[in-house]
Structure formats: structure tokens, C-alpha cells
Symmetry: C2
Subunit: 255 residues, 2 copies
């Protein structure tokens, strides 16, 4: 494919090996299968172990391999497509919201960066809702949802002072607001210790950090910081749920 082939550029040894290994995974291995140990693999492909390790790291980045202590290196299943946005016209309610399980709700001050996004004064108390997202039986994301007390004045403190019920109430009140839309950013990050625990990863594991602003006419009503497993997730942003689903299905068929 002309310029589209790695071959068109002088490439390092580990990169060529990665390509060869990738083809071997398709032809000789099945999903979940444990790879031979590094010594055997290095011998099989006639490369130094350092080169092999670099190639394995690439394949892990690309979600082709999983490395788990005690298990070894296994062939990864296709990444899970996780819908971050649904239908365009529903600015207000987050279509993916049902997918989130509230764990807890505390009252706290926001980090400086969150304050700036909320146009809130540092020190203004916020409801901090902690949620996890499960897809195909796996925790794929951990979230902190920052909701200024002033955004949800209707919230009853008596009803439930803390815990999952409180968390659900805060989310409910948030969605009662006349939200005009959301904006998001996605960047690479490393899992915080508490997120890593939820995600069953080591602290510092690569994650996709999705920061969402919930926009009300008066300004930003809430900010969500969600960390998704970068190894197993593909984030999808759709014009319409239907199209997205058919997209998912196509990819599943293709893979």
C-alpha cells in the first residue's frame, strides 16, 4: 500500500519482529492461549531476548497480548467497544449512564484543575461520587464525578448521608438539571492506586482518562474524571447508538 507499509521506512529490529509475531498470533494462536516463555520464543524467532521483550511490549500496547503475573503472556481477546457518547441530540442525559455503578459519595474539596473547570472557588464543598463501569463482566472504568453542592440544591441530606444511595441521588439530581450539553477530553494517563485496584491493574498501568464537563446554561454543573483500561477498551463516540452497534458488530465479524 505504498506509503502505508512500515517497509517504506527503515525500521528497528524489534519492530520487524513485532510484525512477524503479530502474524503468528493470527495464524498459530487462539485467544486466551498462553505464549511460550521468552527464552523459547526468542529461540523460535532467532532474536535476542531484549529484542523479543520490546516486540512483546508493542503488542501489549496494541491490545494483542495480556501479561498477568502467575499466568504469563496470553493472546488477548478483541478490545471491548465502550460507548462514551450515544445519540448526538441527547446532550443532557448521558446515554452510557446506566452502565455506571455508584459505589460511594463523599463531600470534599476539588483538585485545582477540577475547580478551574467548574468555575468554582477552591474550598467550595462538592459531592464526589465514585462509580465503576462494567462491560462484558469486566470493570472497564473507574470514575470520580464532582458535583458542586450549588448544582444540586434539591438534594436531601436526610434521605441518605453517604454511600451508594447518596451517590445515586446525586446523579439523579444532576440529570434533573436542564443540561445543554457535554464536552470531553481523552488523554493517556497512568492508573491511580485506587483506580488501579478497581480495574484489577497495578498502579501506573496505562489508562485512557476521559474528562467530561456537564454544561448547564449557568456554566459547568459537574465534572467527571473517568479512567478506562487502555489494554482492553476501545472508546466509541457515535452519532447514533444504532450506527455504533452495527459498527461494533462489523468489527466483531471482521476480527
Amino acid at each position: 500500500m505504498g506509503t502505508t507499509q512500515p517497509g517504506s521506512v527503515q525500521e528497528p529490529k524489534y519492530w520487524h519482529l513485532k510484525t512477524v509475531l503479530s502474524e503468528a498470533l493470527d495464524s498459530d494462536f487462539t485467544v486466551g492461549e498462553v505464549l511460550p516463555n521468552e527464552r523459547d520464543l526468542a529461540a523460535r524467532f532467532g532474536v535476542a531476548r531484549a529484542t523479543l521483550r520490546q516486540a512483546l511490549e508493542q503488542l501489549e500496547l496494541e491490545g494483542r497480548l495480556q501479561r498477568r503475573r502467575g499466568v504469563g503472556t496470553t493472546v488477548a481477546p478483541p478490545r471491548v467497544g465502550v460507548a462514551v457518547t450515544g445519540a448526538r441530540h441527547s446532550g443532557a442525559a448521558d446515554d452510557a449512564d446506566e452502565a455506571w455503578q455508584p459505589l460511594d459519595c463523599t463531600t470534599a474539596e476539588a483538585p485545582a484543575a477540577v475547580c478551574a473547570m467548574l468555575d468554582a472557588d477552591a474550598g467550595e464543598p462538592l459531592h464526589v461520587v465514585r462509580r465503576i463501569r462494567v462491560a462484558q463482566g469486566q470493570v472497564v472504568a473507574a470514575e470520580l464525578l464532582y458535583v458542586p453542592a450549588s448544582s444540586v440544591p434539591e438534594l436531601s441530606g436526610i434521605e441518605a448521608p453517604s454511600g451508594p444511595v447518596r451517590a445515586r441521588n446525586v446523579v439523579r439530581e444532576l440529570h434533573r438539571l436542564d443540561l445543554v450539553g457535554q464536552d470531553r477530553s481523552v488523554e493517556l494517563g497512568s492508573a491511580r492506586a485506587d483506580d488501579a485496584k478497581e480495574l484489577d491493574r497495578l498502579p501506573g498501568a496505562p489508562v485512557l482518562v476521559v474528562t467530561t464537563r456537564y454544561l448547564a446554561p449557568a456554566g459547568t454543573a459537574a465534572v467527571s474524571v473517568a479512567t478506562y483500561r487502555a489494554d482492553t477498551c476501545r472508546l466509541t463516540f457515535g452519532d447514533s447508538g444504532a450506527l455504533e452497534i452495527s459498527h461494533e458488530e462489523q468489527e466483531r465479524r471482521a476480527s
Copy 2:
């Protein structure tokens, strides 16, 4: 902040060091400043070099540090916010399109995964447009845009058989189509050799892979696979350009 602090979970040594280093970067260092060498840093913080290295890798993942051969480890500037979507209502024209510089256009067959997304028969010829995206004077993304010949029947082959002009013509024809929208996915990947060269990275460097389907009433008119530098980019998805810009500005002020 209760559950939001890493301290709430038992954390590995390198993770604690990362937190300490992160604070030191804020207080003792300026953007672009070169860090002391690993031996000195390890001594300064009283840790083993292996532990230090792990912590530095975390900070690199988070975009706080840049490691460049010949230069050493420097304090990274804040990530560049790159708008992947603009105003919601403009399904057809990609607002960010002006940001893309066409490099070349070849005629080729699509990879199997792209064929599946295009509902195209393997072997159907496609226009493959290669573009790069520049933000703040830096190449932040390299793209391959796959446009089936059947999607742009008006395209004149005589006008320009190949090269940048041909690429511009294909994009122009694509935007003449009555596109109904786009859907996207974002996932972690490693830079292909040719993309890495455009992005001034080594092959295999972490990238954010954005796959976009251009949707026409008849089906998928084109597929774009864009790789963004994960170290320096934060991808933004906005409800409205205006909001996005103010968001950017806020973050710049906050940082």
C-alpha cells in the same frame, strides 16, 4: 478526599515516589528544564535507580516528562488540546479538517478491518489519502483516509493523478457528499514506522488511534485512521467550538 487519595490503598514504592516527584516538578522545576541524571535523582530522593526509573516512566505516561535522546529528560509543557470534533450539529464537514495537511494520495486495497467498516469488497480499489495534522508548530497526528472510488465518482483522474493536489481533490469530493454524520473510536496503539517518522517518534511509541467512519445515507463513504501523539496531545470532543476554546483557556490558566 476520602476514597480519592492513592493513600487509601497500599501503594508500591515507585508510586509514592512518582507523587513526590510530581510535586517537585511543580515547585522546583520549569517547563523545558532538564532533570538531573538518574544517579543524582535517585540519591536526592533516597531510592534505588530501578524505582526511580519506574516513577519516571509513570510521569512520562502522564505527559509530565519528555525523554529525548541527546537531550535527556525534560519537564514537558502542558498537553496540546486537539479538537477531534467541533460543533455537534455539523455532522457533514469535519470542523478540524482545515488542520490537516494532505501529503499524498495513492490507489490501493484496504486492510481487512477497513474493508469491513466500509462494507466494501476486499480488492475494491480505494483512494488512500495521507495527511498530517499540525498544532502549535508540532506534527501531532498522521492519518490515512480510505475513500472507495465509488464514493467519489465525480473525481477527475486527469486533473491530478497523484500527490498533494490529488489528495486535496479527494477530500473536496468527500465533503461534497451528503454526509449524515460520523462515528469514532479512540484506543491506545503503538506508532507504525511511517507514522512514527512523521510524528518524530520511534516506531512503537504510544499513540492514540482515532478511527472515524464518514457516514452517507447509503452507508460508510470513507474511513479515517489517525494516530495522535499520546505524549503531547489531549483529544477534545466538544458540543460547541466556543465552549471547547474556553475550556482550553481555563486549563491553560489552571496549569
